[in-house]
Subunit: 135 residues, 4 copies
Amino acid sequence: MKKYIFELTIKVRDYECDLQGVVNNSNYQRYMEHTRHEFLESLGENFGAMHAKGVDAFVSRVDIQFKNSLRSGDTFISCLNVKKEGPKLIFDQDILRCPDNKLAARGRVEIVVVEDGKLTRGEYFDSILNQIKKE
Amino acid sequence: MKKYIFELTIKVRDYECDLQGVVNNSNYQRYMEHTRHEFLESLGENFGAMHAKGVDAFVSRVDIQFKNSLRSGDTFISCLNVKKEGPKLIFDQDILRCPDNKLAARGRVEIVVVEDGKLTRGEYFDSILNQIKKE
Amino acid sequence: MKKYIFELTIKVRDYECDLQGVVNNSNYQRYMEHTRHEFLESLGENFGAMHAKGVDAFVSRVDIQFKNSLRSGDTFISCLNVKKEGPKLIFDQDILRCPDNKLAARGRVEIVVVEDGKLTRGEYFDSILNQIKKE
Amino acid sequence: MKKYIFELTIKVRDYECDLQGVVNNSNYQRYMEHTRHEFLESLGENFGAMHAKGVDAFVSRVDIQFKNSLRSGDTFISCLNVKKEGPKLIFDQDILRCPDNKLAARGRVEIVVVEDGKLTRGEYFDSILNQIKKE
């Protein structure tokens, strides 16, 4: 069984389903964003507060594979792992349908950090990620 | 303290905030829809399953007052009461910010029920609502 | 035939339709917001630029009646009129399906203006609305 | 100058911008979906009508690179090319900001076709794509 450093349980909301009767693809990207931001909060940081400080994490690339559609009434676990590659944060994110843990979607999301309008080496996340290693 | 027959705790997702830094107004309507559908599930019914049976609950009117903006990081309780007025279901829905219970938004939402394309007298909900009275 | 001071033609996007196969109700509120902001641009003002100047227009109330559902493939005209009532701007907004002009939704939207965090008497819009009267 | 077989001009809607003041990443995926569906309509097919016939095009993978953020007030051209690779339709999609044609986002989107619940070899699109070659 694959291990993740962060997991969030989410229920599908019906307005997220489109006329095909399944969750619209763009919402998986939203679930993944929300999961990253909740992960950040679990480490004592908040996305809105970061923006107010002049530090913005921007997504530079998303690569999402859609495997099994989620539907009205479904609950799922949104899981992630993270590592640093050069200046980028790389998130590996899986969305697993409950209760059978079937893979609904798998994403790789690259993040860069901009401070006061300038691209950084991602130092902002070094101390945050160090917390995880210690745990 | 006002009493509600159903309450759901929800966390703001950052993508729901707009460039003003607060939750975009349209999302309160979405929170309220999700709350009604979760209320329905608590009574053993599912919105998607109803649609598959040819029974559709349609919103005929929403009236929402916005009192205090929700922001990134906020958690809130989405509460509702419901009654029948003629063929309509009338939901009174309050969104209360945590932890101070400040009123963020108050909505009155009217629902009609369409079966196989025809407007009904709302009989579909009679048995469901009878459950509540018994409790 | 009712007259409007601003009209915008919009095409339904499929991701705006939900599992009932019709445009989700919350999206009418979004169409109406977008129409107000385009109206503002037609008068030489931009919502994002206003926010950057410390002036925010906030919706204090929406009352929307849903009459005929829009569907995949539909085009519609989003129309508005506006007047001032005390410190509030009141928008009357109709959404008319093309090509038969059938009323899809009718909204009344109240707006208040906050400058540097303080509720104003709405003076900000006086000069903008004066432009319309002159035309 | 790169050539595309389909182009659609779109204006940013303010509710698509998030608290960072730029278009939220998930909306580029939505712009790209809308562009594919409008492309389909230009060829005489409609996504909702396909679903009603039991034919569903599902996204199996999206890979989007975000280059330059779109903001409130921006207009952009959403462009695409398409080819078939085995059973998949592959869309190359560029989003170019107006009026400087700066690349805002670049996507590669894979589509599979499911008929009556079964994965197909994508024959459904063969005749549609043949139209393009003839033009």
